[in-house]
Amino acid sequence: MTVPRVERPGLYYPKLPATWWLRNANYFRFMLRELSSVFIALFLVVFLIQLHRLPQGPGAYAAYLETLRAPGWIIFHVLALAFALYHSVTWFNLTGVVQVVHLGERQVPPRLVVGASFALWAVVSVVLLWFLLRG
């Protein structure tokens, strides 16, 4: 897929090293943002296994929950939560840039779109929290 570039003699062609993302803070934050997807996916796999234990009866389910109490898992979940929050914040900030919203002829300022996304996130989270914890 990659088309090799024809290099002309005399010119110096710089090579971008694999460590380019350590060169500036924005690049590094980009890499963290992308990496967040790994933690989110891992959590969802953990969740999927939990759901898999559900029909196997209360014993199997409790045993699985017990595993998650291990310090290693707690540390993993703290880390995953931090990444998940980072993902949410960057995601909503960026979608405001991508999604152009029009009201009549005028474009809604991206700042408002971003604000609305954060508000939606808050509402959804509260509703979800209430639903999960009410029983």
Partner: protein, 249 residues
């Protein structure tokens, strides 16, 4: 009285002599109203006439004098020495481009890509000049104005790691200009530009690092142009999959 000075560490590359770039230090007078370009001009006029670089308008609109200043793509006519005190300041050619000599990079690659995205008004039927202008409301103008501010200074390409890794990537400025014409109420060329934007090394190559928009000296926001082009392309694709008429708009 001793004059205050500053040191510039300038990347030099002499084709045919150097196998790769090297650094040379120059001491220049420090003036609080001097920009990096003034310091380079001082070097060229008074210290070493062989230093090569491009410049012209020295007011941030011709786009000639883009260089890496302390590793960040900058217009050197707008980078003040006072913001880099006490120095030294590292000045190099724009990253990700082949270097012709010293601080001069080759941009024929961009010129070719610019032509490929067809950055001109395309219409099925052109209105005769005698019939006057196409009407365009201020809101219709605002829709694309931001993306018409690109001065082709190449800072966005120097900031883009994807371009650094994949030189075939159409890249921020060219896509932003294609998007600018797609948004123009006078234009009907979306279908003709779409194939270039959706090709293997078009918009889909971008991973939204976003640094292009950070370094853009004119507030163009090419990253937004690329993501919106993706959204438009994906929406088109979806329509073409589910609509019997193939989603032509």
């Amino acid at each position: 009285m001793t004059e205050e000075t500053m040191t510039l560490e300038v990347t030099r590359y002499r084709p045919g002599h150097d196998r790769e770039p090297r650094t040379e230090s120059f001491t220049v007078p420090y003036r609080k109203d001097w920009v990096v370009l003034d310091a380079l001009n001082h070097i060229k006029d008074r210290i070493d006439g062989t230093l090569s670089y491009r410049w012209s308008c020295r007011m941030g609109v011709c786009g000639s004098c883009g260089m890496m200043v302390n590793g960040v793509p900058k217009l050197t006519c707008a980078a003040f020495l006072r913001d880099y005190r006490p120095g030294p300041i590292r000045v190099g050619p724009l990253a990700n481009f082949p270097v012709i000599r010293d601080l001069v990079i080759a941009l024929d690659d961009f010129m070719e890509k610019l032509r490929r995205v067809k950055p001109w008004i395309i219409r099925a039927v052109e209105k005769p000049v005698a019939d006057g202008e196409y009407l365009q409301t201020p809101a219709q103008l605002d829709a694309y104005k931001q993306f018409s501010m690109c001065i082709n200074c190449m800072l966005c390409y120097a900031a883009c790691p994807v371009y650094g890794l994949e030189p075939a990537f159409v890249g921020p400025a060219a896509i932003a200009l294609a998007y600018r014409y797609n948004l123009d109420s006078r234009d009907e060329g979306y279908r003709l530009r779409e194939p270039v934007l959706s090709e293997a090394v078009g918009v889909w190559e971008c991973t939204f690092v976003g640094e292009c928009s950070v370094v853009c000296p004119k507030g163009v926001d090419p990253a937004a142009a690329i993501q919106r082009s993706k959204l438009a392309g994906a929406t088109d694709w979806l329509l073409s999959m589910i609509m019997p008429w193939g989603g032509r708009r």
